[in-house]
């Protein structure tokens, strides 16, 4: 009897508690959901602000002019020599056709303003046109030329017409020129191929991402080629072959510590070792790749060891039991199973390396470089550095380019991750 009342009271206790426990669970689920929703909202805000600011950079204002490719200006002696052609004064051709469109513009200052409407890079557009097809000399052709950045900003609405003239970078007469061109359909926003084909420039309308993109590719290539084999070999040796003693313990502790070292320290090391001691060229992707290799190695090793550890011991034992040697066991059975995990670690390391600027500051990769690098010894910069340099430029038109560069960096990152996911799916084995 006594027992029964006891068990009853226990049941009652349990029943009483149920509502409380359920609400605790509901609360916990709610917290979790809030966390996820908050995270998503922040990502969304980030993407909206970047895309909202940056999509404009994929379009560029261009002005159509009927250019007369005068032989007397381009190649007076009819040599058709590329050296002569590339040194010709194309600006005078542009000036000539501008005065044809705006015959009413008079006065030195006004004419100077008018000529500034066309980008300083337009002469190179004409030069390239002639070099590509010399038969155009002597003919007249309609060419779409880059407008300079202020006019581009006006067309995109970043310079507002409602602002009083004294505070506007483009004065009323300049805005009137744009209106006249608009009426005739001679000015419009077109797809900005320059952004993807050109290197850095101080004129926003001519600045492109290609130099930094190639720099990032070369740097990451060096990093990958060095860090993956070294990292994988280290992980395999430490996990599968090394004896357990205080030396391997020491190495393990040090690798873990190395993963937490701030990246700028690797930059200083790179400056002292690779540039000052070995005499490798400054600003080169080779040095950048070496420094980033040092930085990503610990990540790859730690992830690699974790992947090897997760392979069940039964696989090793079975292989050894069938008479395989230690080496065969590792390479035929353990490593293929651990490879997806190792690849994940490598990709995380590479993604870190892609976004890194601090170590590159020390080795001269934070620099203004116009030429597009053609190899790992050429001077280059990388995507995050390009973003930083543009964000720091005074011209208004660089604001949208900064966001566009961030979009390119994100696209690079996402495609890199996609490759990793694909590789992982292909190599994945279940046991």
């Amino acid at each position: 009897m006594n027992n029964r009342t006891d068990s009853l009271s226990t049941m009652e206790k349990v029943r009483k508690g149920i509502a409380k426990r359920r609400s605790a669970e509901r609360r916990f689920r709610f917290y979790g959901l809030t966390g996820i929703v908050l995270g998503l909202v922040f990502v969304l805000i980030l993407f909206i602000s970047i895309i909202g600011k940056g999509y404009g950079a994929f379009q560029q204002t261009q002005i159509a002019l009927d250019i007369e490719f005068l032989e007397s200006v381009i190649d007076p002696n009819q040599t058709r020599d590329s050296k002569v052609i590339s040194r010709a004064d194309y600006n005078s051709l542009i000036r000539k056709s501008l005065t044809k469109v705006f015959p009413e513009v008079k006065g030195r200052r006004q004419i100077r303003d008018l000529n500034r409407m066309i980008s300083s890079g337009a002469m190179f557009q004409l030069r390239d046109r002639v070099l590509e097809d010399p038969s155009v000399i002597g003919r007249s052709e309609r060419v779409w030329l880059l407008a300079s950045d202020d006019y581009d900003m006006l067309m995109k609405g970043h310079i507002e017409r409602s602002v009083p003239e004294s505070e506007r970078r483009l004065k009323d007469h300049q805005v009137a020129w744009v209106d006249k061109l608009l009426e005739q359909g001679l000015i419009k926003k077109r797809f900005n191929t320059f952004f993807f084909t050109a290197g850095d420039s101080r004129a926003p309308e001519m600045a492109g991402i290609r130099g930094a993109l190639m720099g990032s590719m070369y740097t990451l290539f060096v990093t990958l080629v060095l860090s993956f084999p070294i990292g994988a070999a280290t992980a395999v040796y430490l996990e599968e072959f090394a004896p357990t003693n205080k030396w391997t313990d020491l190495i393990e502790v040090n690798i873990n510590n190395l993963a937490a070292v701030p990246s700028i320290v690797f930059g200083l090391l790179g400056l002292a070792m690779f540039i000052n001691f070995f005499g490798l060229p400054r600003s080169a992707p080779l040095v950048g790749g070496l420094v980033l290799t040092l930085m990503t190695l610990p990540t790859i090793i730690i992830a690699g060891r974790a992947a090897l550890k997760s392979v069940p011991p039964s696989i090793r034992e079975a292989a050894l039991g069938m008479g395989a040697s230690k080496l065969q066991t590792v390479f035929h059975h353990v490593l293929p199973l651990a490879l997806p995990g190792m690849l994940t670690g490598t990709i995380i390391g590479m993604a870190q390396a892609l976004g890194e600027t601090a170590p590159l500051l020390m080795i001269g990769m934070v620099a203004f470089i116009v030429d597009i690098p053609k190899g790992i010894f050429d001077s280059a910069t990388v995507l995050p550095v390009q973003i930083y340099l543009w964000a720091d430029s005074p011209e208004r038109a660089f604001v949208e380019r900064t966001s566009a560069a961030i979009m390119v960096l994100l696209a690079f990152l996402i495609s890199m991750n996609a490759v990793a996911v694909f590789l992982r799916k292909r190599f994945e084995r279940r046991w």
């Binding site: 505070e167 035929h332 005074p394």
Partner: protein, 348 residues
Amino acid sequence: MNKNLLAFTAFALLIMHLPVSARNVRDNIVIVGSSTVYPFTTVVAENFGRMTRFKAPIVEATGSGGGLKLFCAGVGVRHPDIANSSRRIKSSEFEDCQKNGVKNIVEVKLGYDGITLARSNKGKAFELTLKQLFLALAKEIPDPSGSEKTVPNPYTHWRQIDPSLPDSSIEVMGPPPTSGTRDAFVELAMEGGCQAFPFIKALKDNNENTYKTICHSIREDGAYVEAGENDNLIVQKLDTNPNALGIFGFSFLDQNTDKLFGLKIDGVEPDFDEIASGAYPISRAMYIYVKKAHVEMIPGLKEFLEEFTSDKAWGDEGYLTDKGLIPMPADERKRFADDVRNLKELEM
């Protein structure tokens, strides 16, 4: 699986053998130094690269001090050819150069840059004198009661300094101590204002250290906000906070006239003509330093200097003025252009 691994290794080996251009000699100019001079050097570098058969020079923004340190590290292709500086080379740096074998240096003055104090268009206009600026920003100021002592800066609102100023709190965003702009601001604006007090001015001769601590220390109680090296960030912050003032180079004001206006200092407007004439009190000269030993060694260096000192670049209507450079008067330009042509060595 084995095949996959093999293929991967083969691929890795293959791409490692991609042709690489070995380089024992350098064929491009390397420029390091001040981030203030950077916008101008880069424009010249880009134009030079596009117009001539030479490669475009590489320009690194390392700050004036960092740049001169790299510049003075030695002679040879591994060391930079030109250093940008937003101040003159210091004698200690010059000695460092000499010690490392960088014996012959050519100094080129480029022109001027104004340091402006700007405020959002949404706020009301007011003007400042250097003295008021000093009283607003110094860490220690002369006792307002008139005795010859210094007290920690008590001012929190502009109105407290002078009844003509607005009744808003003192909030100034400017560069951190690592910046050359900050050095120049302290030297020209703060020290200029500081000298309005006779007893501090007298200190200069008998106790220079105290003089420097009083004149060069910017307050650290939150009224002066170190906004980092990114001037665009300051512009954005000014736009959202009409009460605050920002300190940055003239080129940033020039590009943002629709959002900001520059405060008159000592009654002078921060515009192109006033800075060029020297009437605007906070302006500084910018320099580049060139290694004479490299002129023969690096292809294009001589031509690059010619481009830099040509009137189409640094002249009154040159393309550098579009980027905010305040050119030197014609005779001074001619003198420096001659120095460059003759590679006249700097003596200190």
